[in-house]
C-alpha cells in the first residue's frame, strides 16, 4: 500500500510535468500580454496533430518533432497576437473583445480540424512509449519523465530569459507598465508577439511529448485547458515558475485523490483548493513578479 501511495505521487509528479509545460505557456501569455487565451488548448491540439502526421507519414520521432512543433506553434502564436489580439488594443471593451477573439479562434481551430482530420481518434505507438525505469519497485514512465525534466529545464530557461537578458527585461517592463515601456522606446507590440509566440511554442513541446501516451482528436485541447487555467490562477496569473510548481501540485493531488478517494471527488478537491487559495491568497500561491 505504501508503495502504491508513493507510486501515485510519482505518477502525479510526472503528469504534473505535462500539465506544467501546457500551463507555463498560458502563464507567460497572460502575464505579459494580459490576455486570457481560450485557444490555448488548441495550440496543444495542433502540435499533437503535427506530431501524429510526421510520425505516421515519415516516421519522425516525437522528440525530434518537438522542435518542429515548438517552431510552428511559435509562429502561430506570434501571428495570433499580431493579426488578432493587437487589433483589439485600445478599442472599447478591449478585455471582452479579447475573450471573444480567443474563443472564436478556439472554435475555428477545432472545427477546422474536424474538416481536415475528421473526428476519428488517432494514436501513435512508439516502441519505447511504455518503457519505464524501475527504481525500488516504483515505475517511472520514460516519456513522462522526459516531459518532466524538459518542463523543469524550460521553466529555468524562461526564468533566466526574463531576469537576465535585455529582451527579457524589456518584456517584464512591458508587463509592468505598457505605456511607460512604450515611452522609453520599447517596442511593446513586438514584445507581446514574442511572448505569445513563446507561450504557444511551449505548448507545442507539450503536445509533441503528450502524443505517444494519449490520443489525438480535434477536441483534445479542451480536456487539458481547464486544468491549465486552474493551475495558472493557483500560481498567480503570470508567474511562469509558479505555474510549474502549481502544475505539480495539481498533478499530485489528482493522482493521490483519485487513488485514495475517487476521481469524482478529486475534481471537487482541486476546485475546492482553488477556491480556498483565491480566498486566502488572491494573488496566487507564488506572488513572485516575473
Amino acid at each position: 500500500m505504501a508503495i502504491m501511495l508513493l507510486q501515485a505521487i510519482v505518477c502525479g509528479l510526472l503528469n504534473g510535468g505535462v500539465y506544467a509545460l501546457i500551463s507555463m505557456g498560458l502563464a507567460l501569455i497572460f502575464g505579459v500580454v494580459k490576455v486570457v487565451n481560450f485557444a490555448h488548448g488548441e495550440f496543444l491540439m495542433l502540435a499533437m496533430y503535427i506530431t501524429y502526421w510526421v510520425f505516421t507519414r515519415w516516421g519522425v520521432d516525437p522528440h525530434l518533432s518537438l522542435f518542429l512543433c515548438s517552431g510552428t506553434l511559435f509562429f502561430v502564436g506570434y501571428v495570433t497576437q499580431k493579426l488578432l489580439i493587437e487589433r483589439t488594443f485600445n478599442k472599447p471593451f478591449e478585455g471582452e473583445l479579447q475573450i471573444f477573439v480567443t474563443v472564436a479562434l478556439s472554435l475555428a481551430f477545432i472545427n477546422g480540424m474536424h474538416m481536415i482530420g475528421k473526428a476519428d481518434y488517432r494514436g501513435i505507438n512508439l516502441s519505447y512509449a511504455s518503457m519505464a525505469l524501475n527504481i525500488q519497485s516504483l515505475t517511472f514512465n520514460f516519456l513522462k519523465a522526459v516531459s518532466f525534466f524538459l518542463a523543469l529545464i524550460v521553466s529555468y530557461l524562461i526564468y533566466l530569459f526574463l531576469m537576465k537578458t535585455d529582451r527579457g527585461r524589456a518584456m517584464r517592463a512591458v508587463t509592468e507598465n505598457r505605456e511607460a515601456a512604450a515611452l522609453i522606446g520599447i517596442d511593446v507590440n513586438k514584445n507581446y508577439c514574442l511572448a505569445f509566440g513563446i507561450g504557444a511554442g511551449l505548448t507545442g513541446i507539450a503536445g509533441a511529448l503528450l502524443t505517444p501516451s494519449f490520443y489525438v482528436f480535434p477536441g483534445v485541447g479542451l480536456l487539458f485547458v481547464l486544468k491549465a487555467f486552474v493551475i495558472i490562477v493557483l500560481a498567480g496569473m503570470g508567474s511562469v515558475s509558479g505555474a510549474f510548481i502549481a502544475a505539480l501540485i495539481v498533478g499530485v493531488l489528482e493522482s493521490l485523490g483519485g487513488f485514495l478517494i475517487g476521481a469524482a471527488y478529486t475534481q471537487m478537491l482541486i476546485f475546492a483548493i482553488f477556491i480556498l487559495s483565491m480566498l486566502f491568497r488572491p494573488n496566487g500561491l507564488f506572488r513572485r513578479r516575473e
Binding site: 500500500m1 501515485a8 503528469n15 476519428d120 494514436g123 512509449a129 511504455s130 515505475t139 494519449f214 490520443y215
Partner: protein, 408 residues
C-alpha cells in the same frame, strides 16, 4: 353604389378560390407520399462521433436496401430518407435537436440515438409530443422502464449486454474479477449489472472502479486495480478512454488474464487503429460481428464492404441496420405515418431472427425487445476481430490468458 373592384375581376377571384378550395384537399387526399423523412438523431460530432458515424452507416445501408426493394409499398412505394440531426454527444443538444425535428422538420418518427444519455432526454421530448421514438442502439435499462407509450427499443438492454461480459468471464473460469466504468448513467448502470451478475455466478468482485468522463489519465484507477490483483477485468468505457486505458495499462504494468470491454473500445475498429498491436487479446461484448452465421449477415457484410471498402462491419452499424429494417416493416404494416397506427403496428412485430442472432418482439407494457436477452463476445487476434463466444456463434477459440505486457 360604387364598386371598387370590377365584376369580372371579382368573378375571376371567386373561381380561383373555389378551385383552390376543392383542389388542395383533394391533392392531400391522395396516398401518393413522395418520400418519408424520418428523424435520425446521432452524435456526429464530439467524443461519440466515431460511433455516430458507424451508426449512420447501418441506417444508410438499411434504407438503401429498403428503397432498392421498392420502398414502403403500403405508402405507395414511398422511399425512406432521413432528416439528420447532430446531438453533438451532448444530452442537452439531443433534446433541442429533437424539438427542432418535431417542430420544424415535422418528422413522423425519430430514430437513433447511440447513447443512453442522449436518448433519455430526446425520447422524453418525443413522448411529450406523442411522436414515436425507435431506439436501436441505447441499451440503458431505464429507457424502457418509464412507461412510455411511443418509445420502442430493438436492441438488447444493459442487463443482457453487460451481463454477457460477466457470463463470458465466468464461462472461462474466472472467479475473482474487478469492474470499471465511468461515472455517468452508462457506467453506473454497467457497474451495477456487472456486480449483480457476478453475484449470481458466485464470483468475487475484488474492486469496483469508477472514473470521471473523459479523463486525462487513468493512473489512479490502474493503481487501485494493481492493488486488488483481479484475474480478469470487466470494463464499460467509450473508445477514446479505452485507448488511453490500454496504453497506460502497459505503461504502469497492470496485467490481467482477460479484459471484457463493453460499449466502446474492443468492439470499435478505431480502437485497434489507434492502438495497433496493443489491442490484441482484448475482448469486447458485441451484438454482431462479420463472421457470425446469422440471418441476413452475409448480405449485410457484402453490402457494407461494397460501400465502405474499409473494414468488415461490426457492432455499431449492425444494430442500426437491423433496427431500421424492422422499422420499415412496421411502417409497411401500419400503412400510415400516424403515431398511434405506428405504435399499433409495432406491437404486432414478430421477427424470429435477425443478424444479431436474436429476433424482435416487443413487450406490450415496456416496449422492450423481449427476444434480445444476450450478446456475443469478440476478441482481437493478430489484428483481426473474431467472434469467440458463445460457441454457437464463435469462429475462433478465445485466447486466454492474455500474455503479460513485458512478454509482448
Amino acid at each position: 353604389m360604387k364598386d371598387n373592384i370590377s365584376v369580372s375581376k371579382k368573378l375571376t377571384i371567386s373561381v380561383i378560390v373555389v378551385i383552390l378550395l376543392i383542389g388542395l384537399p383533394i391533392g392531400g387526399l391522395t396516398k401518393e407520399v413522395k418520400d418519408v423523412k424520418i428523424g435520425l438523431l446521432l452524435p456526429m460530432t464530439g467524443p461519440m462521433s466515431s460511433l455516430g458515424e458507424l451508426n449512420k452507416r447501418g441506417f444508410d445501408l438499411a434504407v438503401e436496401k429498403i428503397n432498392r426493394e421498392g420502398g414502403i409499398k403500403s405508402l405507395g412505394g414511398a422511399k425512406i430518407g432521413f432528416v439528420l440531426a447532430d446531438s453533438q454527444s451532448d444530452p442537452k443538444v439531443a433534446a433541442s435537436e429533437t424539438e427542432k425535428l418535431i417542430a420544424i422538420s415535422k418528422v413522423p418518427i425519430i430514430t437513433g440515438s447511440y447513447a443512453g444519455s442522449l436518448c433519455i432526454t430526446a425520447s422524453a421530448i418525443a413522448e411529450r409530443h406523442k411522436i414515436p421514438y425507435w431506439e436501436v442502439s441505447a441499451i440503458t435499462d431505464v429507457l424502457t422502464e418509464r412507461g412510455f407509450k411511443y418509445f420502442f427499443r430493438t436492441i438488447v438492454n444493459t442487463t443482457g449486454y453487460c451481463g454477457t461480459a460477466i457470463d463470458f468471464l465466468n464461462a472461462l473460469g474466472y472467479k475473482k474479477i474487478a469492474t470499471m466504468a465511468e461515472d455517468t448513467i452508462m457506467g453506473v448502470t454497467a457497474n451495477k449489472v456487472f456486480q449483480t451478475r457476478a453475484k449470481e455466478h458466485g464470483m468475487e468482485v475484488l474492486q469496483v472502479v469508477t472514473f470521471p468522463h473523459s479523463p486525462t489519465t487513468f493512473n489512479s484507477e490502474i493503481l487501485k486495480l494493481k492493488l486488488a490483483k483481479p484475474q480478469a477485468l470487466a470494463v464499460a468505457q467509450f473508445t477514446n478512454d479505452a485507448i488511453l486505458f490500454v496504453k497506460q495499462m502497459k505503461e504502469l504494468g497492470l496485467n490481467v488474464d482477460l479484459i471484457a470491454g463493453t460499449y466502446g473500445g474492443p468492439s470499435d475498429p478505431q480502437y485497434a487503429k489507434a492502438l495497433g498491436e496493443l489491442a490484441d487479446y482484448t475482448c469486447g461484448v458485441t451484438v454482431y460481428n462479420w463472421d457470425m452465421q446469422t440471418k441476413g449477415s452475409k448480405e449485410f457484410v457484402n453490402n457494407y464492404l461494397e460501400k465502405y471498402q474499409q473494414e468488415k462491419p461490426g457492432l455499431h452499424p449492425s444494430y442500426c441496420y437491423m433496427g431500421m429494417l424492422a422499422l420499415a416493416e412496421v411502417l409497411e404494416r401500419a400503412g400510415s405515418l400516424d403515431a398511434d397506427k405506428i405504435v399499433e403496428a409495432a406491437l404486432k412485430t414478430d421477427i424470429p431472427e435477425t443478424l444479431t442472432g436474436y429476433g424482435i418482439k416487443f413487450d406490450p407494457k415496456t416496449h422492450h425487445n423481449i427476444r434480445a436477452t444476450y450478446a456475443s463476445v469478440v476478441q482481437w487476434q493478430k489484428g483481426e476481430l473474431v467472434t469467440v463466444w458463445p460457441e454457437r456463434f464463435a469462429s475462433k477459440k478465445v485466447i486466454s490468458p492474455m500474455p503479460k505486457w513485458k512478454d509482448r
